[in-house]
Symmetry: D2
Subunit: 309 residues, 4 copies
Amino acid sequence: MESHLSAALEYARSFLHEGAVATYIPELAKGDPTQLGAAIYAADGEIYRVGDWQQEFTIQSISKTITLILALQLAGYRKVFSKVGVEPTGDPFNSIVRLETTAPRPLNPMINAGAIATASCCMGGRDAFSEFLKLTRRLCGRSSISLNEEVYRSEKQAGMRNRSMAYLMQSDNLLECDAEDALDLYFRMCSVNVNTMDLARYGMVLAGNGKDPETGEQLVEGWIVRIVKTLMVTCGLYDASGEFAMKVGIPAKSGVGGGIMGSVERKMGVAAFSPGLDAKGNSVGAFHMLEYLSHHLGLHYFAGSECRV
Amino acid sequence: MESHLSAALEYARSFLHEGAVATYIPELAKGDPTQLGAAIYAADGEIYRVGDWQQEFTIQSISKTITLILALQLAGYRKVFSKVGVEPTGDPFNSIVRLETTAPRPLNPMINAGAIATASCCMGGRDAFSEFLKLTRRLCGRSSISLNEEVYRSEKQAGMRNRSMAYLMQSDNLLECDAEDALDLYFRMCSVNVNTMDLARYGMVLAGNGKDPETGEQLVEGWIVRIVKTLMVTCGLYDASGEFAMKVGIPAKSGVGGGIMGSVERKMGVAAFSPGLDAKGNSVGAFHMLEYLSHHLGLHYFAGSECRV
Amino acid sequence: MESHLSAALEYARSFLHEGAVATYIPELAKGDPTQLGAAIYAADGEIYRVGDWQQEFTIQSISKTITLILALQLAGYRKVFSKVGVEPTGDPFNSIVRLETTAPRPLNPMINAGAIATASCCMGGRDAFSEFLKLTRRLCGRSSISLNEEVYRSEKQAGMRNRSMAYLMQSDNLLECDAEDALDLYFRMCSVNVNTMDLARYGMVLAGNGKDPETGEQLVEGWIVRIVKTLMVTCGLYDASGEFAMKVGIPAKSGVGGGIMGSVERKMGVAAFSPGLDAKGNSVGAFHMLEYLSHHLGLHYFAGSECRV
Amino acid sequence: MESHLSAALEYARSFLHEGAVATYIPELAKGDPTQLGAAIYAADGEIYRVGDWQQEFTIQSISKTITLILALQLAGYRKVFSKVGVEPTGDPFNSIVRLETTAPRPLNPMINAGAIATASCCMGGRDAFSEFLKLTRRLCGRSSISLNEEVYRSEKQAGMRNRSMAYLMQSDNLLECDAEDALDLYFRMCSVNVNTMDLARYGMVLAGNGKDPETGEQLVEGWIVRIVKTLMVTCGLYDASGEFAMKVGIPAKSGVGGGIMGSVERKMGVAAFSPGLDAKGNSVGAFHMLEYLSHHLGLHYFAGSECRV
């Protein structure tokens, strides 16, 4: 396993020049595009790590999976899916056009508009961000996980496009609270610092059907885990979800902070990280590490044979 | 198993009134909406059947999976995926708008535009439809499978919208032949008569990674099977693919003839049929039969728990 | 003339039942749909009035023409048309889709997005709304014209869709100030109270190439008047501009407050008012009054013959 | 007048390098981009000509105005405007997207889709193209006007995008005949050879409310002339119609053959020609000649002052 991880690191490193750090959020532009790392949390409790595995980065869109878990726990299936759909879109993650043309309801919780609507379902008297942080710490198994204040402030100030989406949804009664409140929660959720070890463990929770891999405690109900993993398959890498499904075939979710978290059914959680992104907003280094590992460890959900790509 | 099939039949029958037969092709409008049937071809060779399992109907869009197999066999990966993408769309199956707005290349081979482009890759000196029919017969294990001439003529005459797509693609150099030739092949491929038993066996071929379940012969190479099943997961039921993935979780493909073919990894092929369609063009009866079977037999690819829907 | 006005009133009254007051702004929903009035300010100084001509209503989108005049005066041709185009759209007045698909720059200053961008060009140290109010009073020849505070507050609170547009434009660097500042100015501009007499006089200023019809003073430079009237022809009634051009043929601008202001080259200013709107947001009563007057007074810019519609 | 024409020629010549001949129709690609000419037919019968005024070129989209006249004469107002609207679009001339998203009915008769639908209204037992040719000859006052067979065949073979539109409209029951028949008529109508003198005379017919400027005979009914001129104002230069209205302000229609025909109310017909097109499909040389003439002869419909652009 460790030799596979090292080989994956070398393989992915040769593609790093194709990526570029996100610049639309000033704080993200400070990322070091040469960083590359990964971690695996296996079902038997073994842990494997390579490269910059312990570098912290903001969770960004990977948080959308945790937001969905929290919303389903707090508001329930009916409420959440009255505000957001479950269909993949074929559009970029920050697209607005469908909110007007197809249907007001955003197509799924893994794109920005859908995640803002989902976040709004977590409000309701309680301190939603505290709940989110508590859940994230339990899923990742690290109680020191916390908010990156600089990124949060940077996103909140720069996030005009997300603001535009939120007001359009409020105009169509798709938010459970005011647009600014939903946005503030959304920006906080995106700005939590994690490392690949944290995300690999979270991936193992999902792979184990919601159970804490150490204590066996049911952290997330099985029906919620299933919905989250299904959406990771169909919508986890924005408008490259189909390509990732074909080439890698691991339920996964990416974030513009450079991370990708994956969950191999019953076998392992896996996460990779590198700040340079491709044109669709996915980490070039992380994508290629996962592609390498999937091929060489046979992790594709239809793994009977190698993909010839 | 047989009691599950009978129960699924009863369950699905209660939803039949929600469907309506397709009317845009005159021949399809003659379907009997009270018909309902299903078949399972298990990995151990056992066969289970219920209701109108032997009723013949036209394969319609389920042929898109076989067209893709044939195109990949004949023209190869690079050629096919230079003409068509692998991303789900969120749009109806007969949508044209993205051909103009997003990118000229149709987003995937499971929507009409993508299948017409894929079909055009099967041309080239040879009699493409003969090849298609031969392959279909081997996958389904029935040498008497043949073209329904009435439906073919009806589709060819009525298919103005598909014609529109084909000419738009020819205008963008996305076809490997003239639009009318690609269309003629496409309409023929859609108009082949099958029954649920045929499709269940084909589903088992896919579930067994391309091997003939009787002879063990490799009918389709593994890398092709993997691509086809992946696209069935993300794009198999048009713009209800996400909902089907969440509620049923079986790689599947539907057709407006009323059939849905599914493939449960290493376990079984399964097919259901009923002519009444929902607003998105999927068979109401077949959808509900598969949903019932998935729940009660634990067929979801993330089957750790039941879906609470 | 007076008999024509009375006949136009009777004609238009028979269509009032087809309209409905705007409800998306709570204050506008209080309008009385039975009200109907009009005024003409002729080039010779004669004034003609009928029905509820002195009823005050908010100027709404008719203000977009004055906003454009002010922006061209303060910021100049180059600045304004770097932020907004001059093409008609075929889309509803509050459409967002083109901001994402066609080009970030809104297509013209007569739709909401374009007017918000235009308004932002009026900022810059000065009190933009005071300037706007001063200009409006001079164009309308009434110094008591003032802001309707209730409507302004109602619009500001309800205007989520306009807010969405403004943030999307800020995200694309199309505003000369912060979104909220541009919106506040825009909502104030829309919420000024006028009556048909005010607007008829303003129409006469435009018809007279920018000259005050009483003093002869040049209130607006000729090149600006020409741009404004041209945009009134092509874009003055949202996505019914083409229909209005064909049936009425008077450069005009409508507002959801129920008013339409028209300018008949060198001959007259004309305004009509009735709160009930059609599906495209234009006053049913005002549209029909202007149509009647155009036919019977030969006001179409290609008036050689009657329109047979 | 003649000195103005010569000056306009020099002015426009300096912009010719910005244009490029149309290449999507092979025959059009043979045009000589250095050609430039114009003609004026004044209300008093005087004729002025300059440069390559007698060079023949295909009428292309300028024919859309004659097609509309013919359709209104043969099929009537109600029939024609049940198939096509009267609103400007903001989209390119060959856009398909709105046929699917906004409404099946094309927005106006001056874009390709709308002209094909309008042409289909001219069918019905008679030889529609003969009727069209006869009308064109009378409007242009030249009985030798005839079809350019090479361009017609070239367009018919290359016109895949128009074919796509036609089949989409047939699918939505917007054509009065089969798509191929409507297309054949449309391609013929576009492929008639004219020169600027022909078009200037046609412009004078429109300027004179439909009367033959020599005989005084009413060639086109006044209500039809008005509709045509109104659509020339709002939709005559594709998605540059707004810019042309602001800068030139003459009801006009352009064609990708390089011609623009204009009609100055009661004063003159004017036409210019140069094969090089801008990005929106309008002749660069013809646009600038008309702009120059409008400025120096005061031809803008709101000509009170010069445009400062």
